[in-house]
């Protein structure tokens, strides 16, 4: 519709033409009505012309009426306009699909995608609309090479872990996320319907964002109204249900009793089930807890613009129940946003945006020992649905009773906003300043009723509680960012394009934690569970020994020079000076340079006539980025430890030192190299991007194990943060896309991307030092390590070599502590010293995939649209840690293949209640976590323009969608895609809440 405006204008103007000399002025914009600065306007067949300014305006004096203007800009179709009078022209350039037209936000400005010299991936609005993600992360999953997304849980509202090009730090490996320039920590505050595009900066060119860009930058641009835009209303909604993707096969009651008897007999104990007949299949605890759960979402937005202003208003509401516990794990999200931009003067622009989010999340214990799913897998199947957990060890209870006794909710209200002013002066200068803020209130309420899950009147499980408690917390967080920068843009001698920017940025984040804990709630009832009605109320900060406030800040200065010659030879250099409150006076400031070069070979004469190659660009970047994501005040010894004693029978709160300090800590430095190529072939039908990258993180900020002499195990204390170690990630990214309009009715698109990453720890503090993390079983050493020569967080344990078949095999082979018999796992004597001990523990798995890939297919046929996408992960391992291995806990069905005598099994050890080394961490518990998942298929139908008599309706589309329909994997747990995301300790499955299978029906409506 908008595209016709200029044509109409042109026709109108043409009819009025008559010859005379006139002054022509006008504005050049794109189809989104964004002004195009730097466009060429030339009077045809003359040397007269102009270049549009920052606002797309141009003026050419003394043009003969009836002359033709040639209006051109890279990436757009050149337009010819006949001018007849002095009326202001609005020239809308249509994108040239044969060109790279995308404008990419690159930090304090935008750049044509063509001229970008860094590794930047773009998820367009179109892709987002295709994917219909409920969460923003889902729009990135499998779409962008080099971006790996795992979810920490499939429960509603759970956070995702985003990793860009692997794990390069053992600390926080999350990328920097900016929404319209505003830093956010949690993507859940964004309604995916509001997103226009997502750009991911993956290499050193992210360095312009300085601190915290070392893990990459995700830039999200939201939809907003523009000048002269007709008012539109869009409504979209979907609803559907979710169900679990998998149940883990566990023993039924009869099988369970049989194996329990066998184990007790082997341990020399009397049989727990003397009579097995009649036990039947018993209770299927997974059936009991998994339910189909509904999900609904509505979103409405209003956009428009006047002569000088544009606006958008939107609102959305999502409610989602969990597949475990239904309403007990419900998540709701309400968002409201407002964007407004105004040209105060011709050269002074103002924009503002406000985003309000309110979420309410209820939680069940998950992915931990004692979580609901863990209990469902381990609970005694002979017990009825309301049965007690007897003799299962203190950590396993009836999962249904557990759900019933769980009451918690977290309400987050958050408002974020930005104000920006941009002033354009002396033709080539722009000064801009932006202020962004976030304020969030987090209200938590937990009620832990009196519970008795095991033996009656007995605190025999760790979940039993004889006194109820209520915890109410109120925390707030606020931050602001203030940026100001000045830009100079000019072209010299037609061919030398220069863009220089100088700027400064300050960031401050503060917060306060408050809360109370109280006891003795009357009637043990949730309705009485408030602090006001509780007794013995205590201050939560004191109980937790935490600092009630924090204040951390950044101060940065930066400069950037971008230069290109004829738009063909590209050069960019950035220098930043960042200061952070995280470091002591000596090391507060760091200097971080980065640079990149590019060459658009396809613009060279020897390629410009090629019929095959439409576009070819080589690019390279290198830079040093800083990271300061560590706790506050690590450089000074503070008195924030816990030192409480009892005098006269009363608690007395003393003063103790907190974490051990290290005055020497300084910036972690990441040195990043990227070499890439972008190619478009065969009339742009094929699009290829390939990158090789190396990321080397030095002066790694780690919290290592340190000597006990330092007092680190005192309550409230802890190890210091130190700079030690080097981690390297090397990898290759390749993305290829094919897209073609095959006929008038049929459009076909196929995209594939693959990323390989090789992660290696080069060193960790001193020689032979290592860091540990994660947990396996109870009371065992942490299974994950960071150690030189291995991938970060590799699994360290015993290697097994089958099962001892008889006593002579046991006698002939070194064993552990002499407790081994036939039927037990045979641990390999790695160092051949004749004993099995800690030194024989070795690398038995890597939680990091060696390759991840995504495949997308889209088809448009007449009014139908279809999209399917899958992603895969290859080479990562997962630790099976959802088995409690107690005498009477249930087992998964592979236990049926246990060793029962010589030759019966060489893979699954015997069952016994006696002391056994089989429960020690070994490769028996490590499984291949590779998978291929069909993440989404979606079929839509858009009604033709004439389908409705109602002229108000511009567009109506209905669709059905199925997410997470199937997963091909050999992994036996719930979901191979989930991970805690911890650099050391990731990939350990304690009964992950699986990502549900979701079926949706939805509609998009536009007025």
């Amino acid at each position: 519709m908008k595209g016709y405006i200029s044509t109409l204008l042109l026709l109108t103007l043409a009819s009025l033409s008559y010859a005379q000399s006139i002054n022509v002025k006008g504005v050049i914009q794109d189809s989104d009505l964004m002004p195009i600065p730097g466009a060429n306007v030339i009077v045809k067949n003359t040397n007269t012309g102009a270049i549009s300014d920052f606002d797309g305006n141009f003026v050419i004096n003394n043009v003969s009426a009836g002359a033709t203007l040639l209006c051109s800009y890279i990436g757009f179709v050149t337009q010819e306009i006949v001018v007849t009078n002095e009326d202001s022209l609005v020239i809308t350039l249509l994108p040239d699909v044969a060109q790279l037209d995308e404008v990419v936000v690159i930090g304090y400005g935008t750049q044509r995608k063509k001229e970008i010299t860094g590794a930047v991936s773009v998820v367009s609005n179109e892709t987002i609309e295709e994917l219909k993600p409920v969460r923003v992360e889902q729009a990135l999953q499998g779409q962008v090479a080099g971006v790996n997304i795992t979810s920490s849980s499939g429960s509603p509202g759970a956070a995702s872990n985003i990793q860009i090009r692997g794990i390069s730090t053992n600390g926080d490996s999350r990328p920097l996320i900016l929404v319209d320039g505003n830093v956010i920590e949690d993507l859940s505050v964004i309604n995916p319907n509001d997103i226009e595009s997502i750009n991911v900066l993956k290499d050193a060119t992210a360095g312009i964002y300085g601190v915290r860009a070392a893990n990459g930058v995700v830039l999200i641009k939201t939809k907003t109204g523009r000048k002269e835009m007709p008012t539109t209303i869009e409504y979209s909604a979907y609803g559907g249900f979710q169900q679990t993707t998998r149940k883990i096969p566990v023993l039924n009651a009869s099988e369970y009793a049989l194996l329990a008897n066998e184990a007790f007999a082997a341990g020399g104990q009397s049989l727990p089930f003397p009579n097995i007949s009649g036990l039947g299949v018993g209770t299927d605890w997974q059936d009991a807890i998994f339910e189909d759960a509904p999900i609904f979402n509505h979103a409405i937005s209003l956009k428009g613009g006047g002569k000088k202003s544009g606006f958008s208003v939107s609102s959305s509401f999502l409610t989602q129940d969990g597949i475990v516990g239904r309403k007990k794990s419900n998540f709701t999200r309400l968002t409201k946003s407002l964007n407004y931009s105004l040209d105060i003067l011709k050269n002074l622009k103002f924009n503002t945006g406000i985003l309000f989010t309110a979420t309410n999340k209820k939680n069940l214990p998950e992915n931990a020992l004692g979580s609901v799913l863990f209990n469902a897998l381990n609970m005694d199947p002979t017990k009825p649905i309301d049965g007690r957990a007897i003799g299962l060890g203190g950590e396993v209870i009836n999962p249904l009773s557990q759900i019933g006794a769980t009451y918690n909710r977290t309400k987050v209200s958050k408002i974020g906003g930005n104000f920006g002013l941009s002033y354009n002066f002396l033709d080539h200068f722009t000064v801009q300043s932006n202020f962004q803020f976030n304020y969030a209130e987090v209200k938590g309420h937990i009620f832990n009723p009196i519970t008795d899950f095991g033996l009656q009147d007995n605190t025999d499980t760790v979940f039993d509680r004889e006194v109820n408690e209520v915890i109410e917390s109120f925390n707030y967080f606020r931050d602001y960012t203030f940026d100001a920068f000045i830009k100079y843009e000019n072209t010299f001698n037609e061919n030398h394009n220069l863009n220089v920017m100088l700027g400064t940025s300050v960031f401050k984040t503060t917060g306060k934690f408050t809360g109370d804990r109280g006891f003795q709630i009357i009637d043990n009832s949730i309705s009485n569970a408030t602090i006001e009605l509780a007794s013995d109320v205590e201050d939560l900060n004191q109980v937790l020994g935490r600092d009630p406030t924090f204040d951390s800040r950044l101060l940065s200065y930066f400069a950037r020079v971008q230069y290109n010659f004829k738009g063909k030879y590209l050069l960019s250099a950035v220098m930043r000076r960042d200061g952070s409150t995280k470091f002591g006076p000596e090391n507060k400031f760091g200097y971080f340079p980065s640079g990149s070069i590019g060459w658009i070979a396809s613009d060279e004469s020897f390629l410009s006539d090629s019929n095959t190659i439409d576009f070819l660009k080589f690019r390279a970047s290198y830079g040093i980025l800083g990271n300061d994501r560590i706790r506050d005040f690590g450089y000074v010894a503070l008195l924030n430890g816990e030192g409480t004693y009892v005098l006269d029978g009363q608690l007395i709160f003393g003063t103790a030192q907190g974490a051990v300090s290290n005055p020497e800590i300084q910036w972690e430095k990441q040195k990043t190299l990227d070499i890439g190529v972008d190619i478009k072939l065969f009339d742009n039908a094929i699009d290829i991007t390939a990158d090789y990258f190396e990321k080397r993180t030095e002066d790694l900020l780690v919290v290592p194990q340190v000597s006990g002499l330092l007092g680190v195990s005192s309550p409230g204390s802890g190890a210091p943060t130190i700079n030690a170690g080097i981690v390297e990630n090397k990898g290759f990214e390749f993305a290829i896309g094919f897209s073609k309009q095959l006929s008038d009715n049929f459009k076909f698109g196929l995209r594939y991307n693959v990323t390989t990453i090789e992660n290696e720890v080069i060193s960790v503090s001193s020689d032979g030092a290592f860091l540990t993390g994660g947990g396996f079983g109870i009371g065992q050493d942490p299974p994950s390590r960071m150690e030189a020569g291995f991938p970060i967080g590799y699994f360290r344990g015993f290697k097994t070599d089958g099962i001892f078949q008889n006593q002579s095999e046991v006698d002939a082979y070194p064993t552990i502590n002499g407790a081994v018999q036939a039927g037990d796992l045979r641990f390999v004597d790695i160092n051949n010293d004749g004993v099995i001990d800690d030194d024989d523990r070795t690398d038995i798995g890597n939680p990091l995939p060696s390759a991840t890939m995504g495949l997308n297919l889209s088809l448009d046929y007449k009014n139908f649209d279809f999209v399917a996408y899958a992603f895969a992960s290859v080479g990562n391992e997962i630790v099976r840690n959802y088995e409690r291995n107690q005498r009477l806990t249930n087992k998964t069905t592979y236990a049926l293949d246990r060793w029962r005598g010589e030759g019966t099994s060489n893979t699954t050890p015997r069952v016994t209640t006696g002391a056994t080394s089989n429960t020690l961490f070994s490769d028996y518990y490590v499984e291949d976590g590779s998978f291929v998942r069909l993440q989404n298929i979606q079929l839509g139908y858009t009604f033709s323009d004439g389908a409705f008599n109602n002229k108000n309706i511009d567009k109506l589309r209905l669709y059905v969608s199925a997410s997470n329909l199937f997963t091909l994997t050999e992994y036996r747990g719930y979901d191979p895609t989930t991970s805690s995301g911890a650099p050391i300790g990731g990939g350990i499955d304690q009964g992950f809440y699986p990502n549900p299978k979701t079926f949706l029906f939805g509609l998009n409506l536009k007025f």
Binding site: R465, T504, Q657, L710, S714, Q780
Partner: protein, 495 residues
Amino acid sequence: MKNFKIKLFLISLIVVCSCSDDFVNVESEDENSENFFNSEQDYQDALIATYDALQWTYLNVMLGEIASDNTLAGGESATDVPGIQEIDDMIHTPVNTQLRDIWGFMYGGINRANFIIEFQDKTEFADKNGVIAQTLFLRSYYYFELIKWFGDVPFVADKRIQFGDQFDIDRTPKAEIYAQLEQDLIFAIDNLPTVQVETGRVTKGAAQALLGKIYLYQEKFTESASVLESLISSAPYSLLSDYSTLFENDNENNVESVFEVQYTDLEGAGFGCLQCSEGNVAVGFNGIRSYNGPLFESGFSFNVPVQEVVDEFEDGDLRLETAILDIEAWSNETGATYTEGNEHTGFYNRKYISRQGDTNIGDANLTNPNNYRAIRFADVLLMAAEALNRGGIDDARAQLYLNQVRERAFGNSDNNVLATGSSLTNAIYHERRVELVGEGHHFFDLVRTGRAAQEIDGFIQGQHELFPIPDIEIQLAGNRWCQNPGYTTTATCSN
């Protein structure tokens, strides 16, 4: 004009945000440890934190019993807390979480004490010597624990051990450490009151008892007897007449308690940080598995006494019922139910198992309020008797002290010991074992008197007298220290 104003506004914006580098100088709201100790209160607050570490000795007490021939590890299964099981079986190695805990906890306490000592001259106030005396007592208590467990240990007495220092501290011969502890405890004796206003604080008597004990461990019998007898002869301590009430929660800090570690059930705790508990963690661990009945509460069935220690009690010894719970008999008597854990012996350490009547908040098993009677007057009497006897000083007085304890135990003087010389020594050893069973002393009594190898299964002479320093701790301190003898180790000491 309008334009000018706007320009001015924008330029001022730039100026405003061009903050000085001071913007990133933020002081924490928490006090900096270098700027503390400006008032008496500051010293008192730091002292409370030093006391806190006493509560972390629950593990020392529990393992001191399990390592001996008094009890078995128990627990739920043979793999329940492997570090404890291994110590029970004398197959412990330099990789042991619990030994590392003891090491770390005691140095935690020492660092808190040394924080005060480092700044002891900063601010003057009236009872400064009293504060320093308490500090030195506590530091001596923690170092003494380390010596008992590990022998020669890294020793710093004038300042905190800060990050970086750990690479420069060698193990100090225990004789040198003892010399400093003696000096510190003498200062404490001179500067502490006999009775403290607040119950739970260290008294002069506590310092005397600890000094006497340290002398005894060094076999300095004369010095030991002298300081212990001066404690015995002065008020206010005496034996409680009824042994059966000694360990009940309503009889804490009684007249027999020379030094008592204070615990409470007023604040909850979790498994994530056992040392953060204000309760006695050992009590829940020792408790009866899946118990349901009167008086007691459930626990994790660790630290279960063996028949042999029950048999050590003579006929007519009234202490047996208080010290050892025969769970079968109790169950028959009261109808109480329980389940059998690992290495079930039928006996529980009745002095320190959970009892009903506490608030049961937090994790009820980890927040039992039972105070640990660290040094009882009975212990003092027996130590004095031992010093007098083994030092060849005065067997008559040794008998006197020993028989005070026995008279209470039997309710009469019919069972008084009249032996002298080595028979008297053995009688004292026997008496220590039964009087103090379940209180964490026995393993160290056996070791210091050279009887461990003959009494403890699996105990290897020349090795098990000391526990291994955790290998990881040796590595983290720069591999300066050699492992204790007899233990295979991955640590490589440089000398």
